[in-house]
Symmetry: D2
Subunit: 297 residues, 4 copies
């Protein structure tokens, strides 16, 4: 009765699964991280860029553990105007430097259409956050930069609404879009959000765009990140996005859901056996150009 | 257990109920519509401005029935990029003209921070729609125009998140903010959204800002608009916002929830008895400066 | 898109609005409380019967204030097995005595089909609680007693599912069913449940059965009970159900949402003006057979 | 803010993770299926027992593919009273016979406390369905049979409420309880329910009871069953429950979500590689006592 699934919207055109002969692979740069192929994309980093030291140390740790994309917020969408709003352009520069030191790509969020070009000048992939999934001015501005876009699912967005938001971006001529499930609103306060992994196989039947999963925001509890990350890969996700912080209890935001370096490394070590069983693999590890490379002090 | 209500956020400062000695009254202009006093604010009009004829006819009808604010979208936030996106600046001008003909104030939505000044130049009140409730760039841009702001509740926003969005606006120095409950996401497809009237008395205990209710979006069904409008007033709302269209079946959007002119008039006639019982009253009706005033052909 | 309301289930037969020529009026006894006519039904009392003193004092207070049905739980459906489970048969007898002293009818919940006959021997109306809305064994057992049934909406029940639960009862040959909206599950912890008043006018278009509203469970906050009770009446409810307790802070359950005697009396005094404006009225007050009647000590 | 997870209820005593030294293993019979150890439990079968032929053929197919528990409903909890309500005692006998032919255990639902003993006389494990998760009379009656209990999560139950329902059963002295996540209510009609896999690792930190996952009800879409079943195992589930039917389009209920025999076999073949990577394994396949054993005609 209530459960009869609805047919998808007829307005899904460019992003519709039938619009292409095969599932899309979105690459951030030649030979670099890609989303949608055999290789998983592993995005990791702090919720917010807090300082040069913090982002360089984190980049070093996540690269060493096998991540290939550095995540981190320079412009932060905060519920309260009194919460830390991010370091802005300084944060962008710090991320870029840290990522380059360890061969990582950069994904970071844009909050204002007037910032899209600036962020595109620094990052490899622009993120539309959950709160802005239907901010059409931002969708267009980010699409028009031509950079790959990571489109997070809105807190109360249906799959159709999410795909139609992707269609807004695609209409700018930019179809390098990756979807990111990060949990939706539910009635149970046991977890911060409700991670909806069923969208992973569902989207694979509705769109040619790849989907990754963010178990950090999706659960809000560090202890659940690794098992739900593995579950996401088993469900067919193109990659994962994980919050990692040098010292989670001191993080300015999202400390409860951030992994320590050791926890992230341990999680990464659990992936290869599972990935192999599923015909997938981790990205090749970054090899420093000089064996003793370390972050400059 | 699950039901233990949480204490409100400590970051509610400017908009907190204790920040002022009494509940605020937000006036759109001297002697004009106000929100929060004994007089109800009645905002009515089409979902979207479709043509000069449509908006003038609707303005005439709602003014005659007793509304004092004309609502209508010139910039439309649509789920699909292929849906009608609004007439933009032309729509703004048509609304202004139609409103002036019948002594109405104008409230209309802003979607892009770059449009805030233009819309403020034409409208009496700027609306932040549900999809943009946490679009912080837009909240700031709209607040900075100095114009009164109508802040709709997000589809999955808690009361605290909603008030913190108002706090973003208030921090620009503009505290002329009216909240608008318009229904939230729920599991029951019987109605388009779930109209949460309990926020009306709850907000009165948490903030000094006035709250109005939109039973059109809140239910999505024309037959439910009048009873839920009356219920909103009984719950203590400062006013209502209702979609009215000359010919709902032909509306480019939201036809199912729009009232005809006759339905709106009938609804308005049912309000005074109820309002009087509650110590409230409808706005004074607009009296045309010349008895035979009618919209120019 | 997501908001297109679904057509009602075709399996709504006996309870369908078209199954009768007019809306049903459910009377508890000759000349006694009825649901669905011009007169409102006012059900009031404690969450649980705790003692003879407590229930007699409450019955006296709610009768004096104008209620005509005494509510109270003898068998309590508690989330935790360690919470107070009710006084059972003793509680039933206490309620009956207290109600009779002040001319009230009795409504009380049944939890086990094996208890239906016993409860029917004592109460005037049997309640199916939210947790048991789809307990088909209980629906049938309660229906078969022939007593009027108060069917509360399940915590996550759609309108169709609720009406189909009523259809289960009606199929026993007992169509004296009253629906009770008591709030559903939502994501916002600001209130205990989300009171969905839009079902009141919606149900009036789908079923001939009357609907009442329980703003106590529906909000979980005593201060919201009166405004939401008025809103329910404005939306067209056939009556209300309100928790009242001699000393809410000491109540064994639901103290936060219970009104004191004075709060209930004040709320009841606010109803007549509103009811008159809507063509409704409170029940006639009980007049003690002897002017000095008081509960026996 | 809203996302701060709550501490678990203090009333979780018998089922609390700290109540035992290690996670419980619930065995249905000596050497038979068990939940919670290295070996996965695979429960498969039709939504409803429809005929002897149907249940025997399905038992043969699921046993051959590697399942060790036969699921199927003899008493069906249907939303509409006009839907098929199950074959009752005849259905129980058919299931028992079919299961015995192929060395399977039987799990089936109980709807009425008065049926608990009869069902316990025939089945190896008694199921409490989602609609009855807080039917305390049923929880007690089923617990008192002493048989292992499969407790499905209610459609809108928090993790705490679910565990407190398990506590009701445990208080009868029967702690052989297995939890089953089967999807909860959400706003997105893309899937029938929202499968909440995060409860799998969360419950492992809150209770010593094992948890299985039902991706058939959890998604309502046959194509999503296999990927979500794999994801459940990756998240740490003790087993899965899957609907399988000889001819899904002709099933009297839940055809859209049922796998064919070939689909189920294919799904089962995908499990061992994943299970091995996680240190888990499928149950040993049933070996017919005589090589040519086949269901009697």
């Amino acid at each position: 009765m209530n459960g009869r699934p609805l047919p998808p919207s007829r307005d899904l055109r460019l992003v519709h699964v039938d619009a292409r002969e095969r599932q899309s692979i979105v690459s951030l740069r030649a030979g670099g991280p890609s989303f949608g192929g055999e290789e998983l994309a592993i995005c990791a980093g702090p919720c917010a860029v807090e300082s040069r030291e913090q982002i360089v140390a984190t980049a070093a740790a996540v690269a060493r553990a096998g991540a290939n994309v550095l995540r981190g917020g320079a412009y932060k969408p905060r519920t309260s105007p009194y919460s830390f709003q991010g370091l802005g352009r300084d944060g962008l520069a710090m991320m870029r430097e840290a990522a380059d030191l360890f061969g990582l790509a950069v994904v970071t969020e844009v909050l204002d259409p007037r910032d899209a070009e600036v962020v595109a000048g620094s990052a490899d992939m622009l993120q539309i956050g959950a709160r802005n999934m239907q901010n059409t001015a931002l969708l267009r501005a980010v699409g028009e930069t031509g950079k790959p876009v990571l489109l997070k699912r809105g807190l109360a967005a249906t799959v159709d609404e999410w795909l139609l938001a992707a269609e807004y971006i695609a209409l700018t001529g930019n179809e390098r879009i990756v979807l990111c499930e990060r949990g939706i609103r539910s009635f149970d306060p046991s977890t911060r959000n409700l991670l909806d992994l069923s969208v992973v196989p569902l989207l694979a039947r509705r769109t040619h765009l790849p989907t990754i999963v963010d178990p950090s925001h999706g659960t809000g509890i560090a202890a659940l990140v690794a098992p739900m990350g593995l579950a996401a890969i088993a469900a067919g996700a193109a990659g994962i996005m994980v919050e990692v912080h040098p010292d989670p209890p001191s993080a300015v935001s999202d400390g409860m859901q951030s992994l320590t370096f050791a926890e992230f490394e341990s999680f990464m070590e659990s992936i290869p056996a599972l990935a192999t069983a599923l015909g997938r693999r981790l990205p090749q590890r970054y090899v420093a150009r000089t064996p003793n490379a370390s972050p400059p002090s």
